[in-house]
């Protein structure tokens, strides 16, 4: 082995010394970065704590006025009016119905789109379509709201003449289409991450693209896809402007998507667009409603987490 002049100039001891210095620095950087990273992660916990703090603080005051039993059993929600009722059920029902309609559209739509893009479409189609889909996610939701109210509802009214102007069906459908890109894009990323060797294994067995997609790629990408679904659900539950504009804002305890009803978010935005004096019961209602919403999404997520853990176990 020929030792070069370049190398000879640096004695072995010198090299070792330099390495040691460098290693010390690298380790110091490592320790610093570990602290920085921890701080960053801790910050997101801080955000949650902030939210919980703000929500709980006002909600506590709210529940001093309103017994929990009323909150969960009364079927009317008119907290800002003379004959005040504080039953969250109508808002909850509205939220669940609009979300359900949206998810019936978004989950199959998003999954099918993702499978199509990742397993069927050629690279060129995928690279062209995906950005456009992502663009759908960037359209202000107000626009979608008016689109539902002024375009889709009249269309639906032609099929179903008795459909009221404000209805949960139209809002839910548009919301569903709006959420498709979220589900599709994240699912597609997850599917793309499945190693090529696994696909090859499946194709070599004589599987078609569909079989490979459904039996190998989707299970392999399941954690990512489940994440996409949960994000989609949360978006549906938390979407504000579309339902505020198109679903009507009248609290209405019904599970019929052909009727109009207010959702929790529609209520909050309707109230915060106006102005409610700080410290009034009206002000506290939006936090109590917000807390409910927070807990609903939390429940979804825990459910999703358990589902994922369970499905992983099967493999």
């Amino acid at each position: 082995m020929n030792v070069s002049t370049e190398e000879a100039a640096l004695s072995a001891a010198e090299l070792r010394r330099r390495e040691a210095v460098h290693l010390r620095r690298a380790k110091a950087a490592d320790a610093v970065m570990r602290a920085v990273l921890f701080a960053a992660a801790a910050f997101s916990i801080l955000v949650t704590l902030g939210i919980v703090y703000v929500l709980v603080k006002e909600s506590v005051a709210f529940f001093r006025h309103v017994p929990l039993s009323d909150f969960f059993t009364d079927t009317q929600w008119t907290p800002l009016f003379a004959d005040a009722h504080y039953g969250i059920l109508p808002l909850l029902a509205g939220t669940l119905v609009t979300s359900a309609v949206a998810l019936v559209v978004a989950i199959p739509g998003g999954t099918i789109s993702a499978i199509y893009l990742s397993e069927f479409a050629g690279a060129r189609v995928r690279e062209a379509v995906k950005p456009v889909l992502e663009l759908l996610a960037g359209v202000p939701t107000v626009v979608f709201g008016y689109f539902a109210l002024l375009f889709l509802t009249p269309l639906l009214q032609r099929i179903h003449p008795n459909l009221p102007t404000f209805n949960m069906l139209s809002a839910g459908l548009v919301m569903g289409i709006m959420i498709i890109p979220y589900v599709a894009s994240i699912s597609e990323d997850a599917m793309r991450a499945v190693p090529k060797a696994m696909r090859e294994g499946s194709y070599a067995m004589g599987a078609t693209r569909l079989q490979t997609a459904l039996r190998v790629v989707v299970p392999g990408a399941f954690s990512g896809i489940a994440g996409a679904y949960i994000l989609g659900m949360s978006r549906a539950v938390g979407e504000t402007m579309v339902v505020a504009v198109a679903a009507g804002q009248q609290p209405n305890f019904t599970f019929n998507p052909l009727e109009g009803a207010a959702t929790i978010t529609a209520y909050i935005v309707q109230v915060s667009l106006g102005d409610v004096p700080h410290g009034s019961i009206g002000y506290q209602t939006i936090f109590a409603a917000g807390l409910t919403l927070f807990l609903v999404t939390l429940a979804f997520n825990i459910l999703g987490y358990m589902l994922r853990a369970r499905i992983r176990e099967v493999y």
Binding site: D30, T48, V54, G238, T240
Partner: protein, 308 residues
């Protein structure tokens, strides 16, 4: 050999499978087509409505009581300024949190709770971030109704999206690569900085883009912190001729953003303002398009560089 012996039987099975395959391809195209059709319908509708106002004066004009004179320059500048703050705040914090949670945090009940919490945070409705910002940023921290407050609010909103996207991107990197780097004596941070982060940049960027695209059209939380609507001037420029050349005054300046301007016009009684709203919608979508396009170029460059 039972089932598979006969080439004709195989052919039959294969044909049946392929019919399903083809049917799915049609279905997939159809779904994409519908989704794209909705987008197209929406965009064309906006374009037709807003067409009369889509001109240079509109882009460079200030608000006015006359719909045909009103412009959106302050809203565009405001949107850019807010997005700048949002990205500057959310990307580092989000990516670093994602790295910590995915690569550093020990796997225990605490991390499980944190994981659920982050996912949940991603699903917290934007309006609640608005309430948080109103309660904490505007009142407690006295940031007022400033670009800084709005930027941070939207940053908080997209933070979980970026964290989740970062984690997914990191997870996609084969552990063999990590092992290879560790085996050479790299520190954890070197593994991250030299390898894992560069290889996952594409995925992280996707998350960032989706987050910013969401933030740019977000109305509700900016309303709750009380963005102003009549702003007939621009914030101070960040660069100055005299020392120290940079200025952060723009951070505390009053501002308006595109969706607020749109919402304001939409709720005007005069139909002419609806035209402005549509035109603003078109501009907003084009802005998002440009953002996406730029990001896709970057992402593809990364993807081309990193293959498995």
């Amino acid at each position: 050999m039972s089932v598979a012996a006969d080439p004709r039987a195989i052919e039959r099975i294969a044909r049946a499978n392929e019919r399903r395959d083809a049917a799915f391809a049609v279905l997939g195209l159809l779904v994409l087509f519908v989704a794209l059709l909705v987008l197209t319908a929406l965009f064309v509708d906006l374009l037709i409505d807003g067409w009369p106002r889509l001109n240079w004066e509109f882009l460079t004009g200030y608000p006015s009581r006359f719909a045909h004179r009103a412009g959106i320059l302050p809203a565009i500048v405001g949107t850019f300024a807010v997005m700048l703050v949002t990205a500057a705040a959310a990307v580092p914090v989000g990516v670093l949190s994602g790295v910590y949670l995915e690569e550093y945090a020990p796997r225990n009940w605490l991390t499980t709770v944190i994981e659920i919490n982050i996912n949940n945070l991603a699903g917290v409705p934007s309006i609640i971030y608005g309430l948080l910002a109103l309660g904490l940023l505007v009142h407690q921290f006295r940031l007022g109704e400033s670009i800084l407050a709005a930027g941070i609010t939207l940053a908080l909103l997209i933070l979980p999206m970026i964290i989740v996207a970062t984690r997914e991107a990191l997870r996609a990197i084969p552990s063999a690569v990590r092992e290879a780097v560790y085996a050479l004596g790299a520190t954890k941070w070197q593994v991250m900085w030299h390898h894992i982060l560069p290889y996952s940049t594409g995925g992280i960027l996707t998350g960032v883009i989706m987050g910013l695209a969401r933030a740019i059209g977000e109305t509700a939380p900016v309303i709750t912190i009380g963005a102003l609507t009549f702003i007939a001037f621009l914030p101070d420029p960040p660069f100055k001729a005299e020392f120290p050349f940079v200025s952060f005054e723009w951070l505390t300046a009053p501002f308006t953003v595109m969706p607020i301007q749109m919402f304001n016009w939409v709720s005007r009684p005069q139909a002419a303002f609806a035209v402005n709203a549509a035109a603003a919608g078109v501009v907003l979508i084009v802005m998002t398009l440009a953002m996406n396009a730029a990001a896709i170029v970057i992402r593809n460059r990364f993807r081309r560089r990193v293959r498995w």
